[in-house]
């Protein structure tokens, strides 16, 4: 086998590996959808949690949230592939969310109970890590 044949085979192997990597990235786009849907859930539920004053509506909200989290967890577990670095990037998203969420809940329930001017922006703040994560993931 001459040198040019080796080079052609190497180029073909590299092209094949790149094509596979593109396929893995394509099939990992579920993660962007997951972040957007989770973000929308947090955006809606956080203000409701702070604004509702108990009763049936609160019970329904809690049940709906549990069902939502179970559904989205099942969706994640059914995905066949997770792109390189996805778990690490998700830890950043969930860490930022947890920190903001703790501030939102502590601040809201102690200083601004049932106050829409606190709770509505708080929903956006708590959802922001998911939306930023989805945006960055989409750009990858």
């Amino acid at each position: 086998m001459d040198h040019s044949q080796h080079q052609a085979e190497a180029a073909s192997a590299v092209e094949h590996a790149d094509r596979i990597a593109r396929g893995v990235a394509e099939r990992s786009r579920w993660y962007t959808r997951f972040l957007v849907v989770f973000g929308i859930g947090v955006l809606l539920v956080t203000p409701l949690w702070g604004l509702l004053t108990g009763g049936v509506a609160s019970v329904v909200l809690n049940i709906a949230w549990v069902v939502f989290v179970i559904a989205i967890t099942v969706y994640v577990r059914r995905q066949p592939v997770a792109a390189r670095g996805m778990a690490r990037r998700y830890r950043w998203v969930i860490g930022a969310f947890a920190a903001i969420y703790a501030l939102v809940l502590v601040g809201g329930f102690t200083a601004f109970p049932h106050n829409p001017t606190w709770w509505i922006p708080s929903g956006l703040a708590a959802a922001a890590p998911f939306f930023i994560g989805a945006y960055l993931e989409h750009r990858r």
Partner: protein
């Protein structure tokens, strides 16, 4: 390994479909790569369905990266050589 290098983890069936081999061929390859310490296989369930998740070990990732780098170097040398052939011959005198 090209599939796994682009992923944190991938399901056995996804890898099989991506590289277009049979279950038995992929099983043999996974066993060989596991024995070499390049691949890790984790068995589990999603609902009642058994699943096998494959991932590269750090050693496997390093070995494949080195292999791919070598291939890219060889392939790039082909492009450089063809570029040089396209250049007009160097003239020492006007």
């Amino acid at each position: 390994m090209a599939t796994l290098v682009a992923a944190d983890k991938a399901e056995f069936s996804f890898v099989r479909d991506t590289v277009e081999v049979s279950d038995s061929v992929l099983s043999r390859q996974v066993s060989t790569l596991e024995a070499a310490g390049y691949v890790k296989a984790i068995k589990g369930y999603v609902g009642k369905r058994p699943r096998t998740w494959l991932s590269l070990t750090p050693e496997g990732r390093a070995a494949f990266d080195a292999h791919l780098t070598a291939l890219r170097t060889i392939a790039a040398s082909a492009i450089t050589a063809s570029d040089n052939q396209d250049q007009p011959p160097h003239q020492d005198r006007p």
